[in-house]
């Protein structure tokens, strides 16, 4: 059975790219404008890369592919990620 996890499970891969925790960031879907914690996104990991989708409309929000030499990060599906300055 194929199923999704949630944005929490992307924390490790994203910590290689960002110095702040992205799972607690607020993400806005560029497709349907649903806005909420990145941790609540649906994460598909049984795939060639990580794919986070909007829990409202299933649109792709973020993709991460790690190759032996580089990491590809696609954020096209996000209008923004909101991270507190504190």
């Amino acid at each position: 059975m194929t199923t999704h996890l949630d944005g929490n499970a992307a924390a490790g891969a994203l910590s290689e790219l960002f110095t702040v925790d992205i799972t607690a960031a607020i993400a806005r879907c560029a497709g349907c404008a649903q806005t909420g914690p990145f941790a609540d996104t649906h994460l598909y990991v049984d795939a060639p890369g990580l794919v986070a989708r909007c829990p409202g409309c299933d649109a792709v929000l973020l993709r991460v592919v790690t190759t032996p030499t580089d990491t590809y990060l696609d954020l096209r599906g996000l209008t923004y990620l909101r991270v507190p300055n504190e």
Binding site: H4, Y44, A47, P48, G49, D58, V60, T67, D74
Partner: protein, 198 residues
């Protein structure tokens, strides 16, 4: 960098006739980058759009009316599993595209659910590619791409788009879902073309 984990072998790698870096699996892993679309065959449609904008359509009955073939092929997933002698039933793309007028070099396959993957048109012809709708004698399960998926077994299996709904033919190569995120534009498992630049 990194270490070797003492006593860890990982999935067994047996058999010598596998492409480099692949291991053999006997089950059929389900990989998916999104929710599984459940497409009823009465709503299913397959569309070919040529580089001049000409559109050809097949519904489920029209697909089944085309001569079908039994196909037995090895398949190779870029996540490193290979499965030998998988058996399918489907329609050759030579048959599907027989009456399509095109001089295009490339195809972008589109799926229900939004997935895409790009292939040279030549790799879809000459008995190399099918629209498959049965696996192991049973209707293709939605988790494995049913009602119908592309089957292009000589390339990494991400090219064999699940839930296929059409091809857009073009003179220029548009990259698909994984090809725009670091995966190889062609994906020959025997040359281990996993990532862009391999």
């Amino acid at each position: 960098m990194g270490i070797v984990s003492p006593g860890f072998a990982g999935r067994r790698r047996e058999g010598t006739n596998l492409p480099p870096g692949q291991y053999l699996t006997h089950d059929f892993p389900v990989l998916s980058a999104g929710p599984t679309p459940h497409i009823r065959t009465e709503h299913w449609e397959f569309t070919v759009t040529t580089e001049t904008g000409e559109v050809r359509k097949w519904d489920w009955a029209a697909l089944l009316a085309l001569p079908a073939e039994e196909i037995t092929k090895d398949i190779h997933c870029v996540t490193r599993w290979s499965k030998l002698e998988t058996s399918w039933k489907g329609v050759s793309l030579d048959t599907v595209l027989a009456d399509v007028e095109t001089g295009a070099d490339f195809a972008l396959a589109h799926s229900y659910g939004g997935y895409t993957t790009n292939l040279p048109l030549d790799d879809l012809l000459d008995g190399q590619a099918w629209i498959a709708y049965e696996y192991d004698g049973e209707p293709l399960d939605p988790e494995h791409g049913g009602p119908a998926r592309l089957l292009v077994p000589h390339l990494y299996f991400w090219k064999s788009a699940k839930w296929v709904r059409g091809l857009v033919l073009s003179d220029t190569e548009d990259l698909g879902f994984w090809e725009t995120a670091g995966y190889h534009e062609y994906g020959d498992p025997w040359r281990e073309q996993r990532y862009a630049g391999d």
